[in-house]
Assembly symmetry: C2
Homo-oligomer: 194 residues x 2
DNA sequence: GTCTATATAACGATAGAC
DNA sequence: GTCTATCGTTATATAGAC
């Protein structure tokens, strides 16, 4: 039962993505060359182009996969029955998900400027989808008199922006645990809309 | 009283620095070429090398000037007479200074990885000097039984790391004013050491 | 699918005329 | 001090042998 070459090759593309992710996070997209990626994967440069048409696509696939997996994971969550607990649940989910993927989060924030316009629009669309989840939670809450918030759109942007910071907090001060961070942000967010 | 060419030239170097700062902050050091900088300044590439020996020096001068000016400004402050107000004063000063220089702060954080080892050490030295100001305030406070803090070195690193975030907060949520941010952080920092 | 070799373009940096 | 021209290097991406 010899393994075929093909079954190894299936592992090559994810390996390229993984190594590119590390390198992009460490040195920045523009500072990383295809040769450096190939060397770390254990290939020659040319071989990379069997898996990705260009360098830009390595980056955009990383970002798109990150956002799609975020959305997918949310939609697989078993939501709390009580709708007044939905906002806390969202904050909890968001922090949990992002703390576990520091490199993806970092390049999703840093390397947006290196996407070409088409890929940028794709990411923007996915971000809007995610933001819509939160703004719907907020406007539902407003309708049920749970929250008071005039601009739910803007509030959801501000909240997600705020939550994004969580990764740096977590890194810079190891004494704050993940549950503590969740608590802090839940309080801040709840205060912001009540 | 015709202006000499020389007096214009005196303005050229700061202009290069300023434009490089904007471009580095916008696109990242590695993604910006000397040709792009020259074009925005209104020069040909070669002329840049009359002011900077290489691209690396443009970046390192920006970062070094940023740190030195931060230290200089601190040492020119009239400190509060009551030493128990020193920590609040530092937090206030730090936030004020950094909110007014978002681009410098951003590249001082982002582009460290693009400094060569020598320049990195220079910046590290300046950062340590700044950090020493805070850790001295803390250890003085501990000696006077104002604060309780076992590891003043680590605490000062954590606090500065935390304060660094302030620029993103300020941007992401325009509803929070600078004085409010100062208040929030003063409370957090004081809580952290008492 | 990976290799070597190469096309083509852009980069940082330098040289010399003015 | 700025220009044009260019060197040497490196980059992305492609072509063709295996």
């Amino acid at each position: 039962m010899a393994r075929t070459l093909g079954s190894y090759a299936k592992l090559t593309k994810p390996k390229i993505s993984e190594i590119a992710l590390h390198l992009f996070a460490e040195r920045g997209y523009a500072a990383v060359s295809m040769r450096q990626i190939a060397a770390k994967v254990g290939l020659q440069v040319g071989a990379l182009y069997n898996y990705f048409p260009d360098k830009q696509t390595i980056l955009s696939e990383l970002l798109i996969n990150h956002m799609e997996s975020l959305l997918q994971t949310w939609h697989r969550q078993k939501l709390p029955e009580k709708s007044d607990k939905l906002l806390e649940f969202f904050v909890d989910f968001h922090i949990e998900y992002h703390l576990n993927r520091p490199e993806e989060v970092f390049i999703a924030y840093m390397e947006l400027r290196n996407l070409n316009p088409d890929n940028f629009k794709k990411i923007e669309k996915l971000r809007n989808k995610y933001e819509l989840i939160l703004s719907n939670i907020l406007s539902d809450g407003v309708n049920k008199n749970l929250f008071t918030c005039e601009e739910t759109k803007i509030a959801s942007l501000a909240i997600i922006g705020m939550l994004k910071e969580v990764n740096t907090w977590y890194k810079t001060d190891g004494r704050i645990s993940a549950p503590e961070i969740k608590n802090i942000y839940q309080q801040i967010v709840l205060k912001a809309v009540t």
